[in-house]
């Protein structure tokens, strides 16, 4: 089954980003188990893929490279980055929502004459068309709201 995930809430002000992370991890783990156990009939896990995870509204804050939680707290920002590298996930941050809220990549920094940029390179900035396309190409869109 092909999933896409929509994240609408920011870390700390909402549970959306963390819950979405756990969902994605579980969907990909099921996939992982399947590939390891495909010769064993005992395993009934269905094979899942995640087409895209789209970050919209306050959800865009998950893509900040600069957020630095205390070392004794779970680092959700890092966890997303690690999940992306491990599974080569397509993490897309809505460009309009992010630029408004001050999360920009190097390209946008150049375009808007900003000296700094703060978006993690594990995410990419793109338009809402990517969410519309994700809906068209996925069996389910799972939304994690504020």
């Amino acid at each position: 089954m092909i999933f896409s995930v929509l994240v609408l809430g920011a870390p700390y002000s909402s549970g959306a980003s963390y819950s979405a992370y756990r969902f994605a991890q579980a969907a990909l783990d099921a996939d992982h188990n399947e590939s390891h156990n495909k010769n064993h009939s005992a395993n009934h896990n269905e094979c899942h893929t995640i087409h895209r995870i789209f970050f919209y509204q306050d959800g865009i804050h998950s893509s900040s490279q600069l957020a630095t939680p205390p070392q004794d707290e779970f680092n959700l920002y890092q966890a997303w980055q690690d999940l992306q590298s491990t599974y080569d996930l397509d993490l897309v941050t809505c460009i309009a929502a992010a630029v408004r809220r001050g999360v920009i990549d190097s390209g946008e920094a150049k375009r808007h004459n900003k000296l700094q940029h703060n978006m993690s390179t594990n995410f990419s900035l793109s338009g809402l068309g990517q969410l519309v396309e994700a809906n068209a190409l996925s069996d389910r869109v799972i939304t994690f709201g504020r």
Binding site: Y56, Q57, G127, G129, L131, V132, N135, A136, L137, T143
Partner: protein
């Protein structure tokens, strides 16, 4: 849109009043993106979302763009009908909505059908 022969109709539900937060504006942005990609799209206004449809909005002095004017442009983008929860109007004592909007009043049975007919529901 890549070749995809399956219909994935979208329902956008607006339940937030305009101007106090970005929900109404960011919902409209998604509606416009959906119609740009020629997706089957229905829009429902319910709860406080119906405040988006009040006439005579003039948000210039709070430095906001007029959301009502943007909603009026939806038919140009192929969104022919805006579904409005009749009960939400009654509960809020609203008798007058902007007359230039292509509004269709719906009851709870019709609202339930809108949700069931959609493949994906986005709520704002």
């Amino acid at each position: 849109m890549p070749n995809d022969n399956k219909q994935k109709p979208i329902l956008i539900v607006n339940q937030s009043a305009p101007y106090g937060n970005a929900n109404a504006k960011e919902s409209l942005d998604l509606a416009l993106a959906s119609s740009a990609f020629e997706q089957a799209l229905s829009i429902l206004f319910t709860g406080d979302g119906i405040y988006q449809l009040l006439p005579k909005q003039s948000p210039d002095d709070i430095q906001s763009k007029n959301l009502l004017q943007m909603l009026k442009a939806l038919p140009i983008y192929g969104v022919e009908q805006l579904y409005v929860d009749q009960q939400s109007l009654t509960e809020r004592g609203i008798t007058e909505l902007d007359t230039q909007l292509p509004i269709v009043l719906v009851n709870s049975v019709e609202i339930s059908r809108l949700y069931h007919d959609a493949q994906t529901v986005f709520r704002f």
